[in-house]
Amino acid sequence: MGAKDLVDEPELVQLLSPEGRRIDHPRYSLDIGPDALRGLYRDMVLTRRFDAEAVTLQRQGELGLWASLLGQEAAQIGSGRATRPDDYVFPCYREHGVAWTRGVDPLKLLGMFRGVNHGGWDPNENNFHLYTIVIGPPLLHAAGYAMGVLADGADTAVLSYFGDGASSQGDVAEAFTFASVHNAPVVFFCQNNQWAISTPTERQTRVPIHRRAAGWGFPGVRVDGNDVLACLAVTRDALERARSGQGPMLIEALTYRMGAHATSDDPTRYREDAERREWEAKDPILRLERHLTQEGHADDAFYAEVAEEGERLARRIREGVRAMPDPDSAAMFRHVYADGHELVEEEQKRFADYQASFEEGN
């Protein structure tokens, strides 16, 4: 398969081998102590546990849908942990791990998948924008936001996520144009998980996606997306570049969507299990675990403790979701406009009257 060739490109930045060994890289170094390493491990495990719980909750009918990040923990935790609180992040809809690094309560991510809202957190609280289902637009929002940062003279960076499928949308190219012409402080982070629902990456592009950047005059780099250290180092570098006025950059993190596209999807219809098994060997969590164990940075007690924390998190999520109230009918009308709108008010009133009349027995 074409995608294979792309995987074995020599230019892939890797700082941690699948066996858990640290690798030196001429450009990207990472000085990181045991505490921080354990922190990344914990982030990934908790994110995965949360994600698994969401899948279960969907099966139980508590959620209408769930888009699992299984397999992409390193790409998301590594890049997310590279951000500073004042940075601003634009996700698509699968960035649960990034949300975690931004301090967004995972429970809040579930509202839209349960169907009680279209976006359950305040983007301004953690500088983590709402999930955007339509593929393409948020990259332009990121470029515009970064243009604003530039005008403010702030040393803030913007991090904008997209997928391999998304790379085909015209909006992505336009975002590259605006960002590069303005030299705006935005890092475009592509999680190439090799699939866009059933469509493999080679139906979107015949060369690695990071190469797009050169055509706009900014750097593009490919990183091992299952290597949390490489993702952290490369993203940190790119964000720092952006903050220091050197403009945009494109990072392509090569990873793999281990699960279905979403709970409604059945990947056995379109891909071989062998491919999945191959990627299991490159599991991002296992890799860091091996490293921690080999280096003596973590022991069974630590792993047990993290696992236990995961269970507590899962419990909280489970209970939180079940307790999540349905919105009242008026919510449909409530935030359509900031300054009000005659028609919306009229429709809301008419609907309320209708409902009331109905309750009185029509």
Binding site: G64, I133, S168, G170, S198, Y270, D326, A331, V336, V344
Partner: protein, 326 residues
């Protein structure tokens, strides 16, 4: 007569299969229409049987999907493209409105664009944002497009065949919450021309005009009203552009009362046009104002509220009561 039970999705699939068999120029493309057979399985098995050239997975780019379909049509093909969900048609809006709709006129008739854009639309399936919308008004307002929507498996089968045979671009709206509804389909003979409305239940007291997913709601309302002794006539428009206004007028002239039902937002929506024309052309026949039951001037809500948002049986009957009260 060869009549078979089919779901709407199955009928559409059979229709596409037949079109691929009959005309080597027919091409199917869209996101995930190949191996997966589309997220609603409407193209299930077609790539396997007709090959990757004729049934091909597109890159994730709706403007590209419609834009390349136009190019293929210029080369003599008859593309049938799928937009995965209603809410994702907007990246293609420029290609549809400025190119697909206008090229025949621009070329003084020299260029024909027999492109079908299939769009699963409407709510009721408990989906997340952008997966439950009814954007048909945008396309109706656009000259150069034809806009249709089947409500039943048989219409799905035949209307899609007719749309593919049409030399005009057709926006083909498929009521996604009816994909799994089963009904007999006679594949031997078309029940009606593409752009004719149909009286699906005759009645005398008031008319319900609707199409697509809410035809069933209309029929249920008529059944409920009948128990109260009210006789409703239900018209399935089938075609939204052109609109078979003659059928609507005939019904309103008989009943004197009209309720239009659709999921699309009411404000500057399909029902506005119907109400405007009916009051103009049936002025002396109307015993009551035309009422519209449809979507609110608000984004389609989170799924837990969609039953409130969608025009259901009770809201329809409420409006029927109102027109009957005049």
């Amino acid at each position: 007569m060869v009549s078979q039970e089919m779901t709407l999705a199955g009928a559409l699939n059979a229709s596409l299969r037949r079109a691929l068999e009959d005309d080597p120029k027919v091409r199917i493309s869209g996101e995930d229409v190949g191996r997966l057979g589309g997220v609603f399985r409407v193209t299930d098995g077609l790539q396997k049987d007709f090959g990757e050239t004729r049934v091909s997975d597109s890159p994730l780019a709706e403007s590209g999907i419609v834009g390349t379909a136009i190019g293929l049509a210029l080369r003599g093909y008859r593309p049938v493209v799928e937009i995965q969900f209603d809410g994702f048609v907007f990246p293609a809006f420029n290609q549809i409105v400025t190119q697909l709709a206008k090229m025949h006129a621009r070329s003084l008739g020299k260029v024909r664009l027999p492109v079908v854009v299939r769009i699963p639309y409407g709510g009721g399936i408990g989906a997340i944002e952008h997966h439950s919308e009814s954007p048909e008004a945008y396309f109706m307002h656009t000259a150069g497009l034809k806009v249709v929507s089947p409500a039943t498996a048989e219409d799905g089968y035949w209307m899609l065949r007719q749309a593919i045979q049409s030399d005009d671009p057709v926006i083909f709206f498929e009521p996604k919450r009816r994909y799994w509804d089963k009904a007999p389909v006679d594949t031997s003979v078309a029940p009606a021309p593409l752009h004719k409305a149909r009286v699906v239940r005759p009645g005398t007291d008031a008319t319900l005009v609707t199409y697509g997913p809410t035809v069933r709601v209309g029929l249920e309302a008529a059944a409920a009203a009948a128990e109260d002794g009210t006789s409703l006539e239900v018209v399935d428009l089938r075609s939204l552009s052109p609109l078979d206004f003659g059928t609507v007028r005939a019904s309103v002239e008989k009943t004197g009362r009209l309720v239009v039902v659709h999921e699309a937002p009411v404000f500057v929506g399909p029902g506005a046009e119907i109400a405007a024309r009916v009051q103009e052309q049936c002025f002396y026949h109307l015993e009551a104002p035309v009422l519209r039951v449809g979507g609110f001037h608000a984004p389609y809500p989170p799924s837990r509220l969609e039953d409130d948002y969608l025009p259901g049986l009770d809201r329809v009957l409420d409006s029927v009561d109102q027109v009957l009260a005049y």
